[in-house]
Symmetry: C2
């Protein structure tokens, strides 16, 4: 393969990722080609059809995410910290993709497998963080993944933007390591104030299993 062709291929994948992320999975092939500074014909030289492109983009992104997650998971740090890093990393990527793929039928079996692997990996980390006592235990790993997905795919997400931080704070449980403060951090100070956030209070689960 000629050198310039390889360069162009990379460019296409990068542009496609950006556009899927910023404008949803419906972007036209022509827009993608234009964003890459190429003609549609070139795009079709590299990918026989839309599905092939989407698949490549997805697999590349998912593989990158998996590697990152595995690397972090190998570190000797609390699982909570692993999750924080992974989440922040995701928030820095153009990733509406994940939603697109998860929610879109036309995905190759290979891609679905990758999605499954990444999900399982993250769910594991979450579950372990809960064991560890650094994460609230009143919601399931699946629910947490759903939340993370929403937050990370929201347009304009950034690794350290305030909204990502708010979510992480919400996830961490105010009682932190699991046995810090005994009750809600501060007593209600106004009549009618429901203290924390009403409805499902933090589960009183013991610190370790």
């Amino acid at each position: 393969m000629r050198a310039d062709a390889r360069r162009n291929r990379e460019r296409i994948i990068a542009s496609a990722l950006d556009l899927f992320a910023s404008h949803g999975p419906g972007v036209s092939m022509e827009d993608i080609a234009q964003a890459a500074g190429l003609g549609v014909g070139t795009l079709y030289r590299h990918f026989p059809d839309r599905l092939a492109l989407v698949t490549d983009v997805a697999n590349s992104a998912l593989t990158g995410l998996r590697e990152h997650a595995l690397t972090q998971a190998a570190e000797d740090i609390p699982r909570w910290e692993v999750l924080v890093r992974v989440v922040r990393h995701c928030a820095g990527q153009p990733f509406a993709l994940i939603t697109s793929l998860t929610g879109t039928p036309p995905a190759t079996p290979g891609t679905q497998k990758l999605v499954g692997e990444v999900n399982a990996l993250l769910a594991d980390i979450v579950a372990q963080a809960q064991e560890e006592g650094t994460m609230r235990r009143d919601i399931t790993p699946e629910q947490i993944l759903g939340l993370v997905n929403v937050m990370v795919c929201r347009p304009g997400a950034q690794p350290d933007d305030p909204l990502t931080t708010v979510m992480l704070d919400g996830l961490r449980s105010c009682r932190a390591a699991g046995e810090g403060a005994p009750g809600p951090a501060a007593a209600a100070r106004h009549p009618g104030d429901s203290g924390s956030c009403a409805v499902p209070a933090l589960a009183p689960a013991d610190a370790d299993a």
Copy 2:
């Protein structure tokens, strides 16, 4: 206007709201008509074109939301509690609408005005809650509104589902009323654990302005 005609009109608006919420703003007129148990022709009898329908649906929903917010705001309770109620109320509505409208150019000036009013109203409540000391002050009301919007429009949002609760907890600031615990709720218990959520720590802003 004949009685059955009025009934059908209501049905159309309700169905349209549901479909916009569940399937995005791209749903076809035919789908809307079918969901209402009517023919397309009937739909066009009541609304000259798509924009008219969208506008009516939007205005009706936004007006309802504004009324609810105003009612809550009139109560003699902490602003935080007002926000919680409004947010939970929104989460219970089919409201992908709001995103649709905010992000879609084809909106009538009247609708945009309504959106502005509701936004201003909510921003006010948020700002007052921050003054009050019941809400974290390290992010702006606008950012908080963005977050609320994302959470409330996410598919499957419910008034008291765990994800809504997580977000509210994150918003509340662990130090609750603003002068409870002096530092992070609990000390780091593991090497490398960044305590809260790393990066932008809670601003040390004084309790009242």
